[in-house]
Symmetry: C2
Subunit: 242 residues, 2 copies
DNA sequence: CTTTTAAGTGTCTTTTTTACACCAATTCAG
DNA sequence: CTGAATTGGTGTAAAAAAGACACTTAAAAG
């Protein structure tokens, strides 16, 4: 039986047979971060393995031999969370020998950031939930370790690439943007310097509109100018520093 | 037949059988960069596959189900190049469906930097050679693409971590250090600013000795203070910029 | 109309980066 | 022995970026 994308029923059987034949399994695991109520969340699913009953795990599956790594990651996201049009990036692979109880499985971790509001989880998926990153304890497999690695990757990545805007509505206030960065980076930033920095990058476009339904002075709404960002040739800059 | 570390003779047979049974293979490939005569080199081996006769390839092998990813990478380096005590880092995985002609093989790329002088290749290994990175053309498999990705990774990595010192003798002049950075980054750097930057990091230790056998004024020799580097707590610094 | 909350703004200081030029030490060629 | 060639070693000024910091304004809630 090939190591194909398997239904959840027989995955343990497949893995055990694969193990007996001396093969390695390969899977992808998706770490989907979302942002809601000023806190960073991550999308987890109840583990379907007896060994990890009650524990939470990442969205993953074995890779089919007819799909690419990226393809498998997108498929998992669609099959297990109904998510499409999400931008995934590979973080790294994890290959400790006993990381999976049933067999030797090497996994490739993928990471993404989405707007929680854009992906209302169907109530059918009551095994699928957003968890506040700060409050997550033990997880199934080595998934805590994978999630931590992805979180560190994200903190670095978001400082160098405009990932954050996918977590915000199309139009957002600078407060929302700053809350997002503070939640992900885990620090407080100076409001004035934050604004100065973003305005100097010249990638935010004033929409002329204002926040509504806030119990205080409403802020201007901006949108991110992706075209301008694409045009800016990536600054190769050489700042040796360690 | 398990997907174990296989002798070169039957690797194609193993792969074909694995392919027939619907399994994915997993390999590691090592991109070993070295520095010699002011040029960046990479260690390549003649491909052992008929499909790629005469082409150069990275040092790689299938992963055994009883070894970790890192372990496999270190084993490959020892078995195929006789290298030990090398620091390897995982870069990322490559999983295009047809990247290997005999079967579906996903590979995890590892990267390192070594001092070419420390690893004289035995003349027995006349299939193993250092190649100037700038001059490399076509390679076997998707190994050119992997090497390019590792090269980009290296350029970024060396600006944030003191990888470069493993390519230099224990004691080195600032010119040697600068040549190294210029070779890897592919740019010319201002000599005075380069020196200022490195001295301000306070990680170079004056040995009191001087270069010898140079056809010009000899420079002071320094060594890198790894202890001091370890002590410096990693500066988590928040400089949003893209 | 008072309180609360966050929006919006500007300046000064410090740090970092960049640009740039001269004299000194050594080898080599003649 | 001398001059040419080559690289070592140094400092400063200007520009850019980062960091610290306080007050007025707009809206909502009571």
């Amino acid at each position: 039986m090939p190591a194909t994308a398997a239904s959840q029923k027989n995955i343990e059987t497949i893995l055990r047979q694969m193990e007996n034949e001396g093969y390695n399994g390969i899977s992808v695991d998706c770490v989907i971060f979302g942002f809601d109520e000023d806190a960073l969340k991550v999308l987890l699913i109840k583990s379907d393995l007896k060994d990890f009953e009650g524990k939470w795990s990442l969205l993953g599956d074995l890779i089919d031999s007819k799909e690419t790594l990226d393809g498998a990651a997108y498929r998992v996201l669609k099959e297990r969370a109904g998510m499409e049009n999400v931008y995934l990036e590979q973080v790294r692979s994890f290959g400790e020998i006993n990381r999976h109880p049933a067999a030797r499985v090497i996994t490739v971790a993928y990471c993404s950031l989405v707007n929680v509001q854009h992906y209302q989880l169907t109530t059918l998926d009551n095994e699928l939930h957003w968890h506040t990153v700060r409050h997550i304890g033990e997880m199934a497999f080595d998934h805590k370790q994978i999630m931590d690695a992805c979180y560190e990757w994200l903190q670095k990545r978001i400082q160098e690439h405009p990932l954050g805007f996918s977590l915000l509505p199309k139009q957002f206030s600078l407060r929302e943007l700053q809350n997002l960065y503070e939640a992900i980076l885990g620090v407080k930033l100076d409001r004035r310097n934050f604004r100065k920095k973003f305005f100097s990058m010249d990638l935010l476009e004033d929409t002329g509109e204002y926040e509504a339904d806030v119990p205080h002075r409403p802020g201007k709404l901006y949108k991110f100018n992706y075209e301008k960002y694409q045009l800016k040739e990536r600054k190769k800059w050489f700042g040796i520093d360690f």
